[in-house]
């Protein structure tokens, strides 16, 4: 089956820096994938190239099997929600309003759902007759999210769409995304640095660091792969004996060790009896580790059951 999105040897270079370096990627249709990585890692560039808004320097990109740039057939079925989207707003003219933006979107996207759009506006507390130039940052983000979801585009790309939105509003976004995805499955690529908040949404995660893909795997494959074991030094050492370890820390008679490998029921019992605390590493912590350079990424890929 043709993947919805694929990139081969994709690179994007500017005069003074390399934004993307030989990226190979495949994203299956009707999945939600998290695009993770530090600021400036190249996530935005990748998304813009997928949406035909930027051009690759070399390599190829395919969406629905063809290159997206200047391709009506692809662009009609794709939407990119950017945090810095510019709308036609200006001084002193009759204002470009939220309602205008939605109307324009309604004739550009064949699957546009006006009911969903207006219910999202209500959810975010956004009035449709407000001028876009008078919106706060959070409200602009809410508008972008509204357009992105109501478009029901087969490929929906989100580039950190939550600037200025508080935790409650972000949760509304995640909930609405999941709900609409359940009703209308589509290919979603969500770039974020608030990983733990959105972690449960992802079926797969792709981690980008310095323009390269360092991890591309099923999210569930990562979960539970490393655990922090802490407590009295001797107990910790005995518990983690013979198991691979990433990190060791100690303070006086206490120690904290990051141990690799799934923790079984027996392990938990034993830890309890030894008075040890077991805390699994969150997806965010795992991603941070993967972004810590080739060694970090290698230690994860070696253990993943993708």
């Amino acid at each position: 089956m043709t993947p919805a999105i694929s990139a081969t040897g994709l690179s994007r270079k500017y005069y003074d820096q390399v934004a993307l370096d030989d990226v190979h990627l495949t994203i299956g249709a009707r999945t939600i994938t998290g695009l993770l990585g530090r600021n400036g890692a190249g996530k935005t560039t990748l998304l813009r190239i997928l949406a035909g808004q930027e051009f690759p320097s070399s390599g190829s990109v395919r969406v629905f099997g063809s290159a997206p740039a200047e391709n009506q057939n692809v662009l009609r079925r794709l939407v990119l929600v950017r945090e810095d989207q510019a709308y036609p707003d200006f001084q002193g003219y009759p204002n470009f309003k939220v309602s205008h933006a939605l109307r324009a979107a309604s004739f550009c996207y064949p699957n546009w759902d006006a009911h969903l759009a207006s219910s999202l506006l209500t959810d975010f507390g956004l009035r449709s007759n407000k001028a876009i130039k008078s919106l706060s940052r959070g409200q602009r983000s809410a508008l972008g999210i509204t357009i992105g979801l109501a478009a029901r585009a087969e490929v929906t790309l989100f580039d950190e769409p939550y600037a200025g939105l508080d935790a409650v509003a972000r949760q509304i976004f995640y909930d609405r995304l999941l709900a609409d995805y359940a009703d209308f499955p589509r290919t979603v690529l969500l770039s974020t640095h608030l990983i733990d908040e959105a972690a449960a949404l992802f079926e797969n995660v792709v981690v980008i660091d310095q323009g390269r893909v360092v991890l591309d795997t099923a999210a569930d494959g990562l979960r539970g792969m490393a655990t922090t074991v802490s407590g009295p030094v001797l107990a910790v050492n005995s518990f983690t004996e013979g198991r691979p370890v990433w990190e060791r820390r100690g303070l006086g008679s206490q120690a904290s060790v990051v141990m690799v490998g799934q923790v079984s029921g027996e392990d938990r019992e034993r830890a309890r009896s030894l008075g040890l605390d077991l805390t699994p590493l969150s997806l965010q912590q795992l991603v941070v580790r993967a972004s810590a350079g080739p060694a970090g990424a290698g230690s994860l890929t070696g253990r993943t059951s993708a």
């Binding site: 939600i32 949760q171 359940a182 449960a200 949404l201 079926e203 699994p280």
Partner: protein, 130 residues
């Protein structure tokens, strides 16, 4: 990871979903012949990806604990509860009873003494007399 209604980062989410459903069946919360929540319902409840929820359901289906009825949904199969309880017993035996016996033997306590010990401890606690 707030809002996941009790799922954590300790292991694959699909496995946790499967475990919870199995637990419900074993505890009798989900009776045999009763409809199991759909993939979308589970996804909405746990706030997880529907594909993950589906994977969890498939684990139970592959195990024969739930079955698909065309057009209606997934239902708990006959005898599922009994099987799960039997499995729990087996796990209990392996995890607790075997080591107990091993340790008792090591300490020179024979099975008859062991049973008496258990009875005494149980009544001290105010439990059900064996």
């Amino acid at each position: 990871m707030s809002g996941m209604a009790g799922l954590d980062e300790g292991g694959p989410l699909f496995a946790q979903v499967a475990d919870r459903l199995a637990g419900e069946i074993a505890d009798g919360g989900l009776a045999e012949g009763e409809r199991v929540p759909s993939t979308n319902e589970l996804a909405a409840f746990y706030r997880i990806n529907p594909a993950t929820a589906a994977k969890g359901i498939n684990v139970l289906a592959d195990d024969g604990l739930i079955e698909k009825r065309r057009g209606i949904g997934m239902f708990v199969t006959e005898g599922a509860r009994a099987r799960l309880l039997a499995r729990r017993r087996a796990e209990f035996t392996e995890r607790y009873v075997e080591p107990l016996l091993t340790e008792a033997t090591r300490l020179g306590i024979d099975p008859g003494e062991l049973i008496a010990l258990i009875k005494d401890t149980s009544s001290e606690r105010g439990g059900v007399p064996v």
